[in-house]
């Protein structure tokens, strides 16, 4: 049985997630879309907090909200003038999008609702502390992630070089 406070927080987070994500894809001002994305990402971070993954929530806010959204905002400001509206969607393209999205929703939703184990109560869990996370991330044993960690570091390096090479002025 959850406390009323956590239910209220859940409702706020879920509503924010749904409403802002829908608004992010329907607004005609691109800068607003980026802002709604930011809110959506905050809501997702909130869900991570509520599910006891504080570290993950912090990473979500730091990397996504702090890094990626700032990148978005910069590129938007570089590529469009303030006050630009994207043209209104034709009903045909809206329809195709809706069909795809709703079909997706229906099929996947039906699949989710048909699984009864998803209706079980939340089990108890020890909050993973930084010591544990650090040892898992740096370990080489089973269920430990040093190799992906190093791979990601190489990926990020390649990404930095690639970004510089692609975007620099020739």
């Amino acid at each position: 049985m959850e406390s009323v406070g956590s239910i209220i927080i859940y409702v706020i987070l879920a509503l924010a997630l749904v409403v802002f994500s829908i608004m992010a894809v329907t607004t005609r001002k691109i800068l607003r879309a980026a802002t709604y994305l930011l809110f959506t990402l905050f809501a997702a971070a909130g869900i991570y907090f509520q599910l006891d993954y504080e570290f993950l929530g912090a990473v979500q806010i730091a990397v996504y909200a702090g890094g990626i959204v700032v990148l978005f905002v910069f590129s938007i400001l570089l590529t469009s003038k303030p006050g630009d509206n994207s043209e209104a969607l034709s009903s045909k393209s809206r329809l195709t999008g809706l069909i795809a999205a709703l079909a997706m929703l229906l099929v996947t939703g039906a699949a989710l609702l048909s699984r009864c184990e998803l209706f079980a109560a939340r089990p108890e869990m020890q909050n993973p502390d930084m010591h544990l996370l650090g040892s898992v991330l740096m370990g080489t044993g089973e269920g430990q992630y040093l190799l992906p960690f190093e791979a990601v570091s190489v990926l990020l390096l390649a990404c930095i070089i690639g970004g510089v090479v692609i975007a620099r002025r020739r």
Binding site: L37, V63, L78, L105, T108, M125, P128
Partner: protein
């Protein structure tokens, strides 16, 4: 009242579907990228929720999300570099205008 896994999963699913909708309908490349981020994030939420509810003692879902965030950051940086480059060449971020090489 219990907040079961479905309560988290359904909003995440709606978020994903919103991403699909945006990806298909939007013409601005940056908007498409935003829709892509939405879908990625929805999947992140799925990972975390499944991890928390179905395998509480383990950390696989969480670490998948962690790496997904890192990779999403890399992917976004590259994609934006490409978009800016295209914009510089064509003064245009509308995907419909980018078919000179096609026909």
């Amino acid at each position: 009242m219990e907040i079961t896994a479905v309560f988290y999963l359904l909003p995440a699913l709606i978020m994903f579907c919103a991403g699909v909708y945006g990806f298909i309908t939007r013409r601005n490349m940056i908007a498409i990228l935003i829709s892509l981020e939405l879908m990625l994030n929805a999947v992140d939420v799925f990972f975390v929720v499944f991890n928390r509810y179905l395998h509480p003692g383990q950390l696989e879902g969480m670490f998948f999300t962690l790496f997904a965030i890192a990779i999403a950051a890399a992917e976004t940086a590259l994609a934006i570099a490409i978009i800016i480059n295209i914009f510089r060449a064509t003064k245009n971020v509308d995907v419909r205008g980018l078919n000179e090489m096609k026909f």
